[in-house]
Amino acid sequence: MRTLAQTTDEILTLAAQQFKVARETLSPNDDFFKTLGIDSLQALSLLTRLENHFHVELPDYELQDVSDFGTLAGRIQARL
């Protein structure tokens, strides 16, 4: 079982890969819309990648009021 810190770290790595930014520029408290310069649809695309990686199903609403990696990690962790 992953720890929350591991889950967060893996999310940051996947986000960095998907949006082609350096992993070290991302941190858990970042507002991913701002840091990655993405819109809400691009954020939803990240969710699919995370679903495939963590083998969980995340309804779209899990992202509705989330804008930082840490909270997103918490939502995923709860489903692992």
Binding site: D31, F33, D39, S40, L41, Q42, L44, S45, L47, T48, E57, P59, D60, Y61, Q64, D65, S67
Partner: protein
Amino acid sequence: MINLKDYESLGGALRAAISHWARETCLIEADRERENCRLTYRQFDESTRPVVHALNAFGFGSGERAAILMTNQSKWLIAAYAIFFRGGVLVPLDYKMTPVEQVQLLRHSGAKTLFAEYYLWRAITRAANFADITLDHVIVTDAPAGGELAGATRWESLQDSGDTEFVSRSRGDAACIVYSSGTGGRPKGCILTHDNYLEQCMALTKLYPFRPGVRYLSILPTNHAIDFMVGFIGPFVCGAAVVHLRTLRPEYIREAFTRYRITHVSVVPLVLKNLERGLHQRFAELSTPRRFLLNQLIRLNRALTQRKPHPQISRALLRDVHKAFGGELEGMFVGGAFTEPATLQFFYDLGILVANGYGCTEVGTALTLSDFLPFRPDTVGKPLPGVQLRIVEPDGDKIGEVVVRGHTVMAGYLDDAELTAETIRNGWLHTGDLGRLDDDGRLQLFGRRRNMIVTSEGKNIYPEDIENAFEGLAVKEFCVFAANYLWPQHELAGEKLVIVLHPESGQEITDAVVTTASGSNRRLPAYKRVSGYLAWERDFPRTASMKIKRDVLAEDIRSQLTRESLAPL
């Protein structure tokens, strides 16, 4: 298609259509790779009966209000039809709002019956202002086994107990109360009548008729005026099929085009831009010779379709591009916000018709729509049949406020006679948008007269609605504005909000204040955020009841500061 002139209400028209198209496919609902359900119009009718019966058992009477709070799915349309069947007034709520906002609007609407998805209902019950509403009946969908229902009834437990009487309504009666905005300040509940919708539907289907065999992909929220009409009423009266996706991720949307051989779809500019970006990426991955060939074909298609579209030729020329959209796409509709002409041109050059329209909640769906005769990406098309549109107080460039009159203009705002009188004057609805009619009668938009912005997702944001997010800021006073209201400019791209901060006398805006404001800003949904702040040293002008005179303050700021004075937040 049934003749809508023969019907007095949406319920009556839908009932006739459902019977007329009984064997046609009506709804398909998919979730990722799974298909959840597929219903013919007859099966849709059967699925509605338990809900109609439940409303009957609740004593839900003619003219009573019932709200729907769901993402796009088959049960949204089933619940809506059941409400209309029982003569009710539908209040479609935006599932993307916060639970506190949803409670505010539920309260304002006076709805005592609610249809909601389980997770949205759970969120509402935990909202700080939940005690402000009294709901007599709540029906929830998608509730997990053992889930805490908090007094709600499971949709699945509703029983069909035989025939239930249809309740007729008149054209002038309210069909829906649709909120255009106003959660934080003044709720704007547009009362749209049966006549508004039936006339709107007649006008739209005259220009873009649907038919059995049309498969419409519903991705805009159904509570949104466009999808309610183009993804529900329109397809139903024409016997077309509606495809719902339970997840709206770009990759599943793309798959749906192919899997369900989609013929029509409505989008907001944000989605259109995303599709454009996806195509650009694919084109960039082509080898140099293939890229060269593609560009030549695009050029040829552009030349051939200069005067009018030739869908068959375009599909043959650019087969691979069209295959990515399922190969049967006949057209997309875009509206709800400003669409860049370059994006429209990009799709038109590929032979993909994107009809650009313009409207506002106060008129149901659309006031104008492009007709491609010829393609004019710099306009939002001509007024729909039955819509009278004028430009008032035009300036030297013939740009003035767009005002409209016709059967589709709402009856007024719920419980707000003052705002209604300000908005509808002598029968003309003042849109607050600035436009110009060209020599062919096509409308070009240039900005707004009102202090508001519209996001690329089609959301209207009124500055006063988000001010409470900044309460407690260590300044004497503050006020939020649309940047284009402070400094008008003749364009609609890149609209932004700004906050004006007035520090306590003798003080300056400190870093701590900016940090706090920035933190409050981040807690707002991304589309509602303020992008910059202005420091202002004088007291805000106020009315006798201490309300900020926003127009006067804006004028003062405009005369003394420029956009360059803005600092990022």
